[in-house]
């Protein structure tokens, strides 16, 4: 799926829990997520902390989108 977006000419960042799978499916910009049932959240945290966590991941994703890459790159 991520490849088709890229193929259409739109830069795309893949936020994904299992980054090796993201590599396999051909994403170029990859940001690791938290866990499979809650990639951009953590129910163990309180609401405010959780949103802060989510914001950090989205910031990483935006950072990836504004960074030139040469092939597959994981933004840890």
């Amino acid at each position: 799926m991520v490849k088709e977006v890229e193929r259409a000419g739109i830069p795309v960042v893949h936020v994904c829990t299992v980054t090796p799978i993201s590599m396999t499916v051909g994403a170029n910009r990859i940001v690791p997520a938290i866990a499979i049932p809650h990639p951009l959240g953590n129910p163990a945290l309180d609401k405010a902390e959780e949103k802060e966590l989510r914001r950090r991941i989205v910031e990483k994703a935006l950072n990836a989108l504004t960074t030139e890459v040469d092939g597959q790159t994981i933004f840890e």
């Binding site: 799926m1 991520v2 490849k3 088709e4 977006v5 890229e6 193929r7 259409a8 000419g9 739109i10 830069p11 795309v12 960042v13 893949h14 936020v15 994904c16 829990t17 299992v18 799978i21 993201s22 396999t24 499916v25 051909g26 994403a27 170029n28 910009r29 997520a33 499979i36 049932p37 809650h38 990639p39 951009l40 959240g41 129910p43 959780e50 949103k51 989510r54 914001r55 991941i57 989205v58 994703a61 935006l62 989108l65 504004t66 960074t67 030139e68 890459v69 040469d70 092939g71």
Partner: protein, 350 residues
């Protein structure tokens, strides 16, 4: 037995009306006429089938008036009520190939009349329609006409008679994702030895079972001006409005969801949920922002960090590991995203 009735679709070029300068030629029905490649088809039908009408349409006309042309042609085909519909062959002509695929798929789907077409494997129409209608694999130019019709005619007869269709390798159509058994001339071990010899010699060989698509696409250039960029959200995590109005299936969904989030600031337990069956849904149902971060992006939109959050998001229920399944509809919504002027996409997976 009566001959099968065939309606044949060709473009202005093969109808010998003219080339590019005549590509705006409108749809025309010629009842009782056999035109151009129809002659060769007729010769190959022997006594099994006959062309009862030919539909001619310019390639530009078809592609620029898609819905109108489609409706006109469907009307004509319906009226002729053939047993089989044949479009092309289109060889390497791109717009003609897309037209052949579009109309053959439409006739089959909307009129229930078995249809087929033929074209070169690299014709853009091939990837778009080979899984929807039988598509004979042809050479890349009209010099391959004889070969093309020698495969299309017998397949058309089989389709018209409702006979069992053999494997792609036997019938000459492009592999369409449906595996069909057949008997080879040699046993498997001999085929394996021959394949190995070719592979060792660096010669081309054809695998009998292609693995899912592992191709790569080069990265697009980075977003230059985030503060004015339109960002869209896409997820394979199955986030849908509460109640799953489009009935997206829980796995390997046959369609994708497109939902408007204009004015939505936060995804709540009352308004959104996941349709995905591939993980424990409790956390996503409690707060779908955990999969699709609308709340955070709205904040950033307000703060001017990003230009805007696109008002539509797209959702599927693909597994992280299922590589091939969602390709077709991803291509479709990606085209929409492009058309809507989206600058970048955040795609979240579980």
């Amino acid at each position: 037995m009566a001959k099968l009735k065939v309606v044949h679709y060709i473009n202005q070029f093969f109808a010998q009306i003219g080339g590019e300068e005549k590509a705006d030629y409108p749809v025309e029905l010629r009842v009782g006429e056999v035109v151009g490649p129809g002659m060769a088809l007729t010769a190959n039908f022997k006594d099994d089938a006959e062309i009862i009408a030919t539909i001619v349409c310019g390639d530009s006309y078809f592609n620029e008036n898609l819905e109108k042309a489609k409706a006109e042609i469907l009307g004509m085909v319906k009226e002729q009520a053939p047993d089989v519909f044949i479009a092309g062959p289109a060889f390497n002509a791109g717009r003609y190939g897309v037209a052949c695929g579009t109309i053959a798929a439409a006739v089959q789907e909307e009129l229930g009349i078995p249809s087929l077409t033929g074209m070169y494997v690299e014709n853009p129409g091939a990837d778009m329609f080979k899984n929807q209608v039988y598509m004979i694999s042809t050479k890349n130019s009209a010099a391959g006409m004889r070969d093309a019709v020698s495969k299309m005619a017998p397949l058309a007869v089989k389709l018209g008679k409702g006979e069992a269709i053999g494997a792609s390798a036997e019938e000459g159509y492009m592999p369409n994702g449906v595996r069909v058994n057949f008997f080879e001339k040699e046993r498997g071990s001999q085929r394996a030895v021959k394949m190995l010899l070719k592979k060792l010699a660096g010669k081309p060989f054809v695998t009998e079972f292609p693995m899912p698509d592992f191709d790569r696409v080069d990265p697009n250039p980075a977003v230059k001006d985030l503060a004015h960029a339109k960002i869209a959200l896409v997820t394979s995590g199955g986030i849908v409005p509460k109640g799953n109005p489009d009935h997206i299936e829980s796995s390997s969904a046959s369609h994708y969801g497109e939902y408007d989030i204009a004015g939505v600031m936060d995804l709540t337990e009352e308004t959104y949920e996941t349709a995905h069956g591939g993980y424990d849904p409790v956390y996503a149902n409690e707060d779908s922002d955990r999969v699709l971060p609308v709340d955070v992006l709205r904040d950033m939109e307000k703060e001017g960090i990003i230009g805007e959050l696109h008002h539509l998001f797209y959702t599927t229920t693909g597994n992280g590991t299922a590589v091939a399944s969602s390709k077709a509809f991803a291509a479709e919504f990606s085209a929409k995203l492009k058309a809507d002027g989206v600058d970048a996409v955040i795609l979240t997976s579980t």
